[in-house]
């Protein structure tokens, strides 16, 4: 019953990208597990599946040897180093990160400090309790800004691969723009299957489909392949400094596909960074807790010859929006 394939594809894409915030599934699962009566939990613990038994036996043996070898025994006062919560002694992989600078709405509490206010918990019904649910660290992704000769080589490679006349745009640090490629002057009629299908078909035919994890967002004149970070499903969207989802954009006009603009897919390394402490007292932190909505996003910060995709909180209020850092302040540049 495909009576409006384009609209139905847009609905499919929208519903497919609708996911609860990261960590919600695990938190709810723990809540469900905690509901079981304790005799059942003990029983489950005792009934180790047979296929796990050898691994469990090996684990017990290794733990026993380790216990004997290290001399760290209960009551000795020593702590294990395997908790995964060991503090960082030095800045993680990329050192101190450039902090996002934006001309968006100023800090809610007016402090204007480089680190911004403590991260608030939004005062909305059912809002996440970030203090309990936020992860302790998130990866930062980094690429090296290409040199002019590398950009030229990229143009050649993209042109050869796509069979199109490709223009490359240098990155714009002030606008938070990575180096991009652009194809303009197109006039590809959109068929009855609609613009999402047209975009997919065109990008596929010219080997321009993103290799990054993405969600497709369609509006009347544009289809955006929004880059997603986070777990394998890619639940954390990248947004631009204007707060809108960004990625490869396919533009339409007058029923035709007319242009494609997308980030160059540069090699990206990643390194986990500890997150700041989250305040649970929004009123104290911001002086404004009602009517806020918060979304974990990634934003590109370009500085020092690198582009960094850094996690930020995008905080909406009736007055607009602002970004608030989530990386621990000691790992963010003050300038």
């Amino acid at each position: 019953m495909a009576e409006d394939p384009d609209l139905e594809r847009r609905l499919e894409a929208m519903f497919a990208s609708a996911r609860p915030r990261p960590g919600f599934d695990d938190q709810l699962w723990k809540q469900l597990q905690a509901q079981r009566p304790w005799p059942r939990r003990v029983l489950d613990w005792l009934l180790v599946p047979a296929h796990l038994a050898p691994a469990l036996a090996a684990l017990v043996a290794v733990a026993g040897v380790g216990w004997l070898a290290t001399g760290i025994h209960p009551g000795s006062g020593a702590t294990t180093a395997s908790s995964g919560a060991a503090p960082y002694r030095t800045a993680p992989g990329f050192g101190v990160l450039p902090a996002l600078k934006t001309s968006a709405k100023s800090s809610v509490n007016g402090s204007g400090a480089a680190f911004g206010p403590a991260v608030p918990v939004p005062g909305v019904t059912g809002a996440p309790d970030l203090a309990q649910e936020a992860p302790s660290e998130l990866p930062v992704y980094r690429f090296d800004e290409p040199s002019p000769s590398e950009l030229a080589a990229t143009v050649t490679a993209l042109t050869d691969r796509s069979g199109l006349s490709i223009k490359v745009l240098a990155g714009d640090p002030a606008a938070g723009q990575p180096p991009r490629f652009q194809v303009t002057g197109l006039n590809v009629p959109v068929g009855p299957e609609g613009q999402v299908a047209a975009a997919q078909s065109f990008l596929g035919a010219h080997a321009l489909l993103p290799t990054y994890t993405y969600g497709v967002i369609s509006s009347p004149d544009r289809v955006v392949y929004n880059r997603r970070f986070g777990d394998p499903a890619g639940s954390i969207p990248e947004v631009g400094l204007d707060g809108r989802a960004v990625g490869l954009e396919v533009d339409f006009s007058g029923g035709s596909l007319v242009a494609v603009t997308g980030p160059l897919e540069l090699a990206v390394a990643n390194s986990p960074y500890p997150l700041r402490a989250f305040s649970t007292t929004p009123a104290a932190a911001t002086g404004e807790s009602q009517g806020q909505a918060v979304r974990l996003v990634y934003v590109l910060v370009v500085a020092g010859g690198h582009g960094y995709y850094e996690p930020e909180l995008l905080v909406f209020s009736s007055a607009g929006f602002e970004f608030q850092p989530v990386i621990a302040p000691q790992y963010l540049s003050r300038t």
């Binding site: 019953m1 609209l7 929208m14 709810l28 699962w29 059912g126 369609s218 979304r295 909406f316």
Partner: protein, 167 residues
Amino acid sequence: MPERPEFEDLYREFLPRIYGYALAQLRNAAEAEDVTAQVFIKAYQAYDRFEPRAATPAAWLFQIARNAILDFHRRAGVRERTVEAAGRELGEGDDPARLAEDRVLFGDLLQAVRRLPERQREVIALRHRSDLGFLEIGRLMDCSEDAAKMLYHRALKALRAELREDG
């Protein structure tokens, strides 16, 4: 004879689908998460009574979800009437912050779906999130298969009109 799957398998598969179904019918992500949590808590408690021969897991879970949303609306109605009686301003669902947040993620499509009449947005959400056929959707919505198809057809038409107004 269909076997009862592990609850965790159901949970992992259906959590995003139930969430999406709820998101289209409620005002924001927080409400959708509330309802999603209620659905799985109820399902978990009732799983011993789930009979795979009587219903597919999808039909069973979406029936629970449908009831949870109806219940949520009932409770919200009572709460808002209480607030209204206290002379406070309503309209939380139209909070520009939340509308802006949704636009970041979904464009204007989600808001257009939410503006549809209740049964139309429900049939759209079921059609695109439940993987159920129109026969089962009709059973869930207390109507025939043909009526469910017709409802979906009208919902798409209304949605197109909403999007044209937005555009």
